[in-house]
Symmetry: C2
DNA sequence: CCAATAGTGTCTTTGAGACAATATATG
DNA sequence: CATATATTGTCTCAAAGACACTATTGG
């Protein structure tokens, strides 16, 4: 993951003779007079993988696709695919998102997570993957049953309790959850998992699902209301045989 | 930069006919029965760029290389180059670091920053660059004068006041400094810019150089000593006609 | 009236930030 | 003793966290 500690004594790499000049000739910045020079170089495949998250029934869930080919056939992994020559990395991520969920991709939270490029992470060939994660509001994800013809089987799993994942996707998921927990505390990222109007209990449910621990109701509400991050609407949510809950909306003006 | 806000209404991408199946055939996860399928696909070039930072005379400085070829000939930019087929991204970054600074690469702080891949960011061809940043202790960087034969001219510039940079390197530098300021507050990253033993004034200088603003001396020391992040040595630094300063060392055991 | 969820306030502790005077070395 | 930097403590305020009872609805 992110090198949060100093790189500990990196081993020397094998170097060929005439290191400096040879290296420069292989360098875009060092500029080959013949522009075709780097075209012929061995190039890694570049893919985008997308970790799609949502909260359902008070639980954080992640969309996984069942692989029907080697390597890792039968295992689950993230949707992903090659970046096309003329699309940006973010566009590629949105394309994968639309393809796997049927969602429009509008109004989702999309953030680049990290780029994974260990030479052996894909046994077939060198693949460098740029990973994005996505937060979807409830009900936006349409999964695919096994045997359906829209593509491979796709399903939501509890994000903190998935089956073993293909490639290095287990590491990637752990890192995603870590990033998400961190951002929850100093950003308003949590609102991306709720509809425009929500009760404070629903919001707390989202926070608890991500942090994977219970929060105190009074402290939670106090903080939200003092910082004016949410503002009450005139509407109530009345379901079940108990006191109705006020609906709130996110207030983008309150920064903290 | 990092998409810190929701992606606002991403425009639809042009889609070719037979979208789903066609796309799958172009997908590593979707697994071509003929492994050569994706080998022939158009592949972007993948480079690593390295933002090398150090603190010199109380100022945060960044190493820049003068470009002697188009595009952006004569402008300054970060060291960087193509990732080789058998090296990891981090190894590629360390190789660039060694090449440009003569530093061993041991004992530096190296962290992946972000991956930039806008299709037009390099006018020659599609280039996706994985950016790392590096924190070097003082005196580890050997710059190159113009006309020297070790490679292109390389020089340290004030990180908050550089000449205009090639490509999107100006954006990259701004983002690096933002990341660095952020991490300074909740990690011990700052010690990577100092020798093993240092005075508290020197440490404060590093913090002020990165944050680009003065800090209160008493509050700064109080926090460090209470949290036990630094511990005193028996040695003093005696230079100049004034009171000597105690030398401290970083205490990795104190987490906060 | 029972069940179920919504809603509310106080106290303590901790950390951040503003602020100024004394100590110790050299020349 | 003049100069330059090192070193030290108090007060205030804000935010975080522990903690329990009342309110309102439907059946």
């Amino acid at each position: 993951m992110t090198t949060d500690t100093p790189t500990d004594t990196p081993q020397d790499l094998p170097q060929r003779a005439m290191r400096t000049h040879e290296t420069r000739a292989n360098t875009l910045n060092g500029a080959a007079p013949t522009p075709g020079a780097f075209e012929r170089a061995d190039r890694p495949a570049v893919t985008v993988d997308v970790v799609i998250l949502t909260v359902r029934t008070g639980r954080l869930e992640v969309l996984l696709v069942r692989r029907d080919h080697a390597p890792f056939a039968g295992m689950w992994g993230f949707p992903g695919g090659l970046v096309r020559p003329d699309e940006s990395l973010e566009d590629a991520a949105l394309r994968e998102l639309r393809q796997e969920t049927g969602a429009s991709g509008a109004d989702v939270y999309l953030e680049q997570l990290y780029t994974f490029g260990e030479p052996a992470r894909d046994p077939r060939t060198r693949v460098i993957t740029v990973v994005y994660y996505v937060l979807e509001r409830p009900g936006q994800i349409h999964t695919r049953a096994p045997g359906s013809d829209g593509g491979a089987e796709a399903q939501l799993f509890p994000a903190y309790d998935t089956p073993p994942l293909a490639f290095d996707h287990g590491d990637i998921l752990r890192y995603t959850l870590q990033r998400l927990r961190g951002k929850l505390e100093y950003t308003t990222i949590g609102f991306q998992l709720l509809p425009p109007e929500f009760t404070l209990s629903e919001l707390q449910e989202v926070y608890e699902a991500i942090l994977n621990r219970p929060l105190d109701k009074r402290n939670f509400r106090k903080k939200l209301l003092i910082t004016r991050i949410v503002e009450p609407t005139q509407r109530m949510k009345m379901v079940g045989q108990h006191r109705p809950a006020r609906l709130y909306r996110f207030n983008p003006k309150a920064s903290a």
